[in-house]
């Protein structure tokens, strides 16, 4: 398993956003994460990157390198750095803190920018980009990271259809290269078309497996029952710890 999650609970202020989740992701799998608003999808990804500490449960990550595309870019947009330099950060695993960035690397940067439709943007400062362009720049950086576990949080939201289609093709390519991809998406139709596996999340796991089965009307209905707000009068959760095999 590339990713083994056992009884994971993630939350804010003791209220669970992800509740007792068990999940196994096979290496090379391409999985979409869908669910209603507030279902804990972004929270799950943040827990996987280590940004959020689990309230309970365990995550076993057997990937060598992890790459993460956040939903809201928390990059300081006013920082005086050019697109080229920013994207080149993705080469960290090759050059580290002190390595030279040579001609071959510059070519890789150009290639990554071309893949996201931003050819020729190398010298442009980040502050001059639109939100969607920044998202694409971050995607380009991700491309260079050469990771084997890739987490994407709503990667196509601020993009036009053509670019989204191009990047979906890139995602397919990753799948073909044997990388494990987990992507949070809102567009159910795109999921049906392009993602072989799906996790339907409504704070707790509703269903996980082949997309067609998971996205049944029944499952979708169950997912919509989940209440979005935290319950201020909730009691302490006393579910048994061990759940057996997933």
């Amino acid at each position: 398993m590339a990713l083994a999650i056992r009884d994971l609970t993630l939350g804010y202020d003791r209220h669970p956003a992800v509740h007792h989740l068990d999940l196994d992701l096979a290496p090379g799998s391409l999985t979409a994460v869908v669910g209603p608003n507030g279902a804990g999808k972004s929270t799950l990804l943040k827990g996987l990157t280590g940004e959020l500490q689990p309230l309970e449960g365990r995550i076993d990550r057997r990937a060598e390198r992890l790459a993460y595309l956040p939903q809201l870019s928390e990059v300081d947009r006013s920082f005086p750095v050019a697109v080229g330099a920013f994207v080149a950060m993705g080469l960290w695993h090759r050059v580290g803190a002190f390595g030279r960035i040579g001609g071959a690397d510059a070519a890789r940067v150009a290639e990554a920018l071309a893949a996201v439709g931003l050819t020729g943007f190398e010298k442009r400062p980040i502050s001059a980009l639109s939100g969607g362009q920044v998202q694409r720049v971050m995607f380009a950086r991700l491309l260079l990271q050469d990771a084997d576990l890739i987490l994407l949080d709503e990667p196509f939201t601020s993009m036009d259809t053509k670019t989204a289609a191009d990047l979906l093709a890139v995602v397919q390519r990753w799948h073909g290269e044997g990388r494990t991809v987990l992507a949070v998406l809102h567009d159910i139709e795109a999921v049906r078309r392009h993602f072989p596996e799906t996790l339907l999340l409504a704070r707790e796991k509703v269903a996980h497996g082949a997309t067609a089965q998971v996205l049944s009307a029944e499952n979708l209905f169950r997912a919509r029952q989940m209440s979005e707000a935290f319950d201020d009068r909730a009691n302490v959760c006393v579910r048994p710890r061990e759940r057996g095999a997933a």
């Binding site: 005086p80 750095v81 950060m89 803190a97 002190f98 502050s127």
Partner: protein, 287 residues
């Protein structure tokens, strides 16, 4: 032309003052650029107060001994800087609030320690010098710190820039995040304390922040900002020293006011992001 060269040619103390200012323009100003970019511009003032307990301990131990008080000050500054960084990393409190909390605690502790000895010596006044009184020891200290700063900045340039631009990304791909953060804070403390001792509070903090703020309106890359800031700092030093010489103005404030005027000019008329760029934009291009 004589009025430009003569003051420096005729008087040794002017030459030393100039050398000291140039040293600090090369060392402290780049640190100031990064401080600005990390939104920590008020750190200098806070740090001036934070070093008091360290200086107080030095005073309690060794009397009015400048070396002991400086060492104590550096130690206290480093402790405050490290605690600030740690709290900001591991809790929800951000760096500015964290620093405010620690410097206030530190200052109160310092005042308490000083009053314990019972004497009403103005410690801070003894600790803070003036650019016109740079003796060999102070000059050597300044140059050493500048060299150390430049070497360190060159070495950790990439992780430092990343840590400022996208700290989460750096944390995800490397273990440099923590070390470079604290290393940077250490550089800040070092440059500030050396600056206080040699040049006084106003000059040390002023020369760190004002040129950096002015450089924002000239350059859109980090390298550019660093170069412009250093140039502005050096120019302000020369102008300020000449004004102090020819017009009898106190030296520290003269230099900082020169930097201030360059800042205001940049704010109004600089090429990027200034008031002029906003209210009188140049004609747009075809594509």
């Amino acid at each position: 032309m004589n009025w430009l060269i003569d003051p420096f040619a005729d008087f040794a103390f002017m030459q030393r003052a100039l050398l000291g200012c140039l040293a600090i323009s090369l060392g402290a100003t780049p640190v100031g650029v990064f401080l600005l970019l990390r939104r920590m511009s008020l750190t200098g003032d806070a740090m001036a107060h934070a070093i008091l307990p360290g200086a107080a301990v030095g005073y309690l131990v060794a009397g009015l001994n400048l070396g002991a008080m400086t060492l104590g000050g550096v130690a206290a500054g480093l402790v405050v800087a490290v605690m600030t960084g740690a709290v900001a990393r591991f809790t929800d409190l951000r760096e500015d609030a964290s620093l405010a909390a620690f410097y206030l605690i530190s200052l109160a502790l310092g005042v308490l320690l000083v009053s314990l000895k019972g004497s009403n010596v103005d410690l801070m006044h003894v600790l803070f010098g003036t650019v016109l009184a740079l003796d060999d020891a102070a000059l050597t200290l300044l140059c050493a710190i500048t060299t150390f700063t430049l070497v360190t900045l060159a070495l950790v340039f990439r992780p430092l820039v990343l840590e400022c631009a996208d700290p989460r990304f750096l944390a995800s791909v490397s273990r440099w995040s923590g070390p470079v953060h604290f290393l940077f804070l250490g550089l800040v403390v070092l440059n500030l304390v050396a600056g206080f001792q040699a040049l006084g509070t106003l000059m040390a903090v002023g020369i760190m922040i004002l040129p950096a703020a002015a450089a924002r309106f000239w350059a859109s890359s980090i390298g550019g900002m660093l170069a412009v800031a250093a140039a502005i700092a050096a120019t302000s030093s020369v102008v300020g020293l000449l004004a102090s010489y020819h017009a009898g103005l106190p030296s520290g404030p003269a230099i900082i006011l020169a930097a201030g005027m360059l800042y205001l000019a940049s704010l109004c008329f600089g090429p990027t992001g200034s008031l002029a760029a906003r209210f009188w934009p140049r004609a747009h291009l075809e594509a």
